[in-house]
């Protein structure tokens, strides 16, 4: 294998993982309350700025950095649910869309006001910036750490959903909220939980994103958020494995378009990526892992 190819594979894995981390949250929230949380991508931005602040403060040991950012993302995700979503429980679906869209715009503009519109550059602690040689290719350590951590998170979350009492309850609410209530399941608490867990994963993606690209800005969550949403659609909305696979499909195809197409086309990578989505959905409208409406009924 040529070292160029190895490099592209690592890049695809790394970028795909970031999309997958954000997509899991989309899928989890949609699965439970049939709501697309448009503010979800902004949690990634929040995670990136938390990372920036903690690194700049210089007092946080690097081992604690991811833990603090994940905890912060958990709180931020939960806060969005409490502030924006809790009050409209039971309202028609369109209200939910508008509320999360408004929350997204509000978060972005608050960030512009308080954090400034200038992009910020920052360098990760030395340990995260190591490079190493893999089969002759020179790759950044963080591009290997990202997929490993992502897969561990995905594994942990899947096990949680499959095996634990709360995980089973989450699946029950997704299928039949009325009956779930009769079991004594408090739907409000589970909704809070999925927003918070989704927020934690998105913040982690923000940490990785800032470490990988070294630059952050208040609007950075928008496009990755949109693409992660596409990843969930490709995978089949509401399916966790679908969200993860969708993330990697998107990451790999984006890298492939940039890496293997003539360079004059690389500026159009998003057009190719969105075109791919249309193709997949033409063939399989319910997404790769999604159930069609008939199966669901």
């Amino acid at each position: 294998m040529s070292d160029y190819l190895i490099q592209q594979i690592v890049n695809g894995l790394s970028l795909g993982s970031l999309y997958a981390l954000v997509a899991i949250g989309f899928s989890l929230i949609y699965g439970v309350i049939r709501l697309v949380n448009f503010a979800h991508g902004d949690l990634m931005m929040i995670g990136a700025y938390m990372t920036f602040g903690l690194v700049a403060s210089g007092v946080v040991p690097w081992v604690a950095l991811p833990l603090l950012v994940v905890a912060g993302g958990f709180a931020a995700g939960g806060l969005i649910e409490r502030v924006a979503f809790r009050s409209i429980t039971g309202a028609p679906m369109i209200t939910g869309f508008i509320v999360t869209l408004s929350a997204s715009i509000a978060i972005q503009n608050l960030a512009l006001i308080f954090l400034g519109s200038q992009p910020r550059n920052f360098n990760f602690p030395e340990v995260f910036r190591m490079r190493l040689s893999l089969g002759g290719a020179d790759v950044a350590l963080i591009d290997l750490v990202i997929p490993v951590v992502t897969l561990l998170c995905a594994l942990a979350l899947t096990t949680f959903i499959r095996k634990t009492r709360v995980g089973i309850a989450i699946r029950a609410v997704a299928e039949n909220p009325f009956a779930a209530q009769l079991m004594g399941i408090s739907i409000g608490r589970l909704v809070f939980l999925v927003f918070a867990v989704g927020g934690a994963l998105a913040a982690l993606a923000g940490l990785f994103w800032s470490g990988k690209y070294g630059q952050i800005n208040p609007l950075m969550g928008f496009l990755p958020g949109l693409k992660a949403f596409l990843a969930t659609i490709i995978g089949g909305v509401g399916s966790l494995p679908g969200a993860i696979v969708g993330g990697y499909i998107l990451g790999f195809s984006e890298i492939a378009f940039v890496g293997f197409l003539p360079s004059e086309y690389s500026g159009y990578r998003d057009a190719f990526v969105f075109g791919l989505l249309i193709l997949i959905l033409l063939v399989r409208p319910q997404g790769l892992f999604g159930e069609s409406e008939q199966e669901r009924a």
Partner: protein, 240 residues
């Protein structure tokens, strides 16, 4: 066990319940019969804390004190022992049989108790035990009803609310289900309030019966009294 006085419930702009009085003594099987739209399901949902009460008194006597149902959250009513087995079974079709049963005891922290309750149930209904890992949606209607009742039983109900247990089932299966409910009442002393379209079956089983019409209780008595009442016979039991 259960005391309801002058209960009024409004859904949307419709006054569905317009002054209901009901009492169910501990250990009894009570039944609520009446035509479609009389307010039977609304009554059960109100007792489970799923609908807001406009006015009236709703009390559950658990044996350790009295609970005001109006001021208690649905979750805490399940914890207090009011368990609702809903109309149309409402099992979780995409979850396994075992997961369905497990959810019945969602609020119980005594996991050994739950494991025992589930294995007892498998003895009672071997077909559920054999297929415990299968998706519940693959069961037949009668098996789904057994699962729905089983799911309610692992919650250790003090007052079991059953909404149309015979709905959509073959007559023979319905009889099996009712025989099981009678046995459950006799041996485990579970108090029940059953809403039923099949009035004949319900009255034969019930110690106490209430007839509902347009959001009001129009008749009550023992199951036998109502069976023998010509008015009831004409309205609900007569053919055609």
């Amino acid at each position: 066990m259960l005391r309801v006085e002058d209960l009024h419930v409004t859904r949307g702009h419709t006054k569905v319940l317009q002054g209901i009085d009901l009492t169910v003594q501990a250990g009894e099987i009570a039944t609520l019969i009446g035509a479609n739209g009389a307010g039977k399901t609304t009554t059960l949902m109100t007792l489970s804390g799923l609908l807001p009460v406009a006015s009236g008194l709703l009390e559950l006597d658990t044996g350790h004190g009295t609970i005001d149902i109006k001021r208690t959250k649905a979750v805490d009513l399940v914890r207090a022992g009011i368990v609702h087995c809903p109309e149309g079974r409402q099992i979780f079709g995409r979850l396994s049989i075992e997961e369905n049963l497990y959810l019945g005891a969602y609020l119980s922290d005594d996991r050994t108790r739950v494991a025992k309750a589930i294995s007892d149930l498998y003895e009672q209904f071997p077909i559920l035990g054999e297929r415990r890992a299968m998706k519940a949606g693959n069961l037949s209607g009668g098996e789904q009803m057994m699962l729905a009742i089983g799911r309610a039983l692992v919650a250790e109900p003090k007052l079991l609310l059953l909404d149309e247990p015979s709905l959509g089932l073959a007559p023979q299966i319905t009889e099996e289900i009712f025989a099981f409910l009678e046995e459950l009442n006799r041996e485990k002393d579970v108090t029940m309030l059953i809403v039923e379209q099949n009035a004949m079956l319900a009255l034969e089983l019930a110690d106490r019966a209430f007839v509902m019409e347009n959001g009001r209780i129009v008749l009550n008595g023992t199951g036998k009294e109502l069976l023998d009442d010509p008015a009831v016979f004409e309205a609900y039991l007569g053919v055609g």
